[in-house]
């Protein structure tokens, strides 16, 4: 790969890449260089939301973020929702809620949904159905399984201490 070196901070770890071309997106580096295949390449146009990650705490499209523009940022992917050092198989509360609510069908949109939902849940109050729908409006589910996804996120918001 031609380009320049960059170090990205992903899920708390500094990860160097030897050469990144200017047009290479964060999504490509996450998947192809780091093997973090949670974020999916759906439309590659910023529409579907399957590639959603957080940068400095805010959900964004990794397919519309150029890797070289992400240096010195805090990037969290779905793989980073569970704190480092947690036992194998441990799930973050939002993951637990989707699993228990049968809110996963084919699973392709799930990583993006989890990231968006996780960001929503940082607000310390129970969420209404409308708030969750608005918060997840940038994540398409091709199986159209929205009802259970929204219910699961609402229940996760109510379950918090």
């Amino acid at each position: 790969m031609t380009g320049e070196p960059v170090t990205l901070r992903v899920n708390g770890a500094e990860r160097p890449v030897a050469a990144v071309a200017p047009w290479t997106t964060l999504l490509t580096v996450l998947r192809d260089e780091f093997g973090l295949t949670g974020a999916k390449r759906g439309c590659n146009q910023g529409v579907c939301g399957a590639c959603t990650v957080t940068i400095d705490g805010e959900p964004v499209r990794s397919c519309l973020s150029l890797a070289l523009n992400c240096a010195d940022r805090d990037i969290v992917t779905v793989e980073g929702l569970v704190p480092a050092g947690a036992p194998a198989g441990a799930l973050a509360p939002v993951q637990q809620a989707l699993a228990e609510g049968n809110a996963v069908q084919c699973g392709f949109c799930t990583p993006g949904i989890l990231i968006s939902a996780h960001a929503l849940l940082r607000r310390n109050a129970p969420l209404t159905v409308d708030e969750v729908r608005a918060g997840l409006s940038g994540n398409l589910c091709r199986c159209s399984g929205y009802k259970k996804i929204v219910e699961a996120v609402v229940s996760a918001s109510e379950a918090r201490p």
Partner: protein
């Protein structure tokens, strides 16, 4: 393709003075077009580290300067915007969806000038001006002279948007932005931005801009001027919507036919004006 990340406006302008140089703002449009193989700039000039472009500030007279790198989410939540200026925050809140609003910027969106985008009509209704900067220095272009044609603006090669400047809105004006779209967050089938001020039954401030009905947002200042001082009932609204409709040049696309846009936009204007008057009359 090369990638540069200057940290000042001066260095940015210098970096833009090369053939095929393009500003990378939030990336929401440019990177999508690069991914689709539609554009391939020779030099990407990232605006990420130019702190001055990220700020918004309210001046003592009520003028609000919004830096080109302000994200849609920030503009949607901007507390410096008041009265009629709120047309801009209402528009920002209806762009796309939360992740895209965390990325996309007002400068990036306006430079791309999608005819169905939300900022162009809002800025035109707010009588906003663009502050542009290039090798020759700064210049100011009113929103009405900035959006020129399909995806074309007054930006010259080597120039960038530094900020968008909203003049103070007259006290007690209201601003509103309504958009008709297939689903929340899609580009508009048609949209209406308005700033309205009433003194009792008399209209004292009127600005209505329609989006997604032509290459640039459509506004009829001539008719607006005629309506100032009088009432704003069915007849007057009809005069304005007829004049606006004359200036429409909408496209047929996947969102709606040109004919549908011609029919629906005047009704949206009417509804928005009726609702805005109601809001004003209910405000103590």
């Amino acid at each position: 393709m090369e990638f540069v990340r200057p940290d000042s406006i001066e260095a940015t302008v210098a970096a833009l003075q090369a053939d095929g140089a393009a500003c990378l703002a939030g990336g929401a449009t440019l990177v999508a077009m690069m991914n689709a193989d539609l554009v391939a700039p020779h030099r990407l000039v990232s605006l990420r580290d130019v702190a001055a472009l990220r700020e918004a500030a309210r001046q003592p007279d009520g003028t609000v300067v919004v830096g080109a790198m302000r994200r849609h989410r920030e503009t949607a939540e901007e507390t410096d915007l008041r009265d009629g200026q709120l047309v801009l925050s209402e528009a920002a809140a209806q762009i796309a969806n939360p992740p895209v609003r965390n990325m996309g910027t007002i400068g990036g969106s306006c430079a791309f000038a999608d005819p169905a985008a939300d900022y162009p009509p809002a800025l035109l209704a707010a009588d906003a001006r663009f502050s542009l900067i290039g090798a020759e220095g700064r210049r100011t272009v009113p929103a009405g002279d900035f959006f020129l044609d399909w995806y074309e603006t007054a930006l010259e090669p080597g120039e960038l948007i530094e900020s968008v400047v909203l003049p103070p809105a007259p006290a007690r004006t209201v601003g509103s932005y309504t958009k008709l779209a297939r689903v929340a967050g899609d580009f508009a089938i048609a949209s209406v931005a308005l700033v309205l001020g009433m003194d009792g039954r008399a209209c004292i401030h009127l600005a209505v801009a329609v989006g997604a009905c032509g290459p640039a947002p459509v506004r009829r200042r001539d008719v607006e001027a005629d309506l100032i001082g009088g009432g704003l009932g069915d007849t007057e609204i009809r005069r304005l919507t007829d004049a606006l409709a004359e200036a429409f040049d909408p496209v047929d696309d996947v969102r709606a036919s040109a004919d549908y846009r011609r029919r629906v936009a005047p009704r949206m204007v009417r509804q928005a004006l009726v609702e805005a008057q109601q809001r004003i009359s209910e405000t103590p």
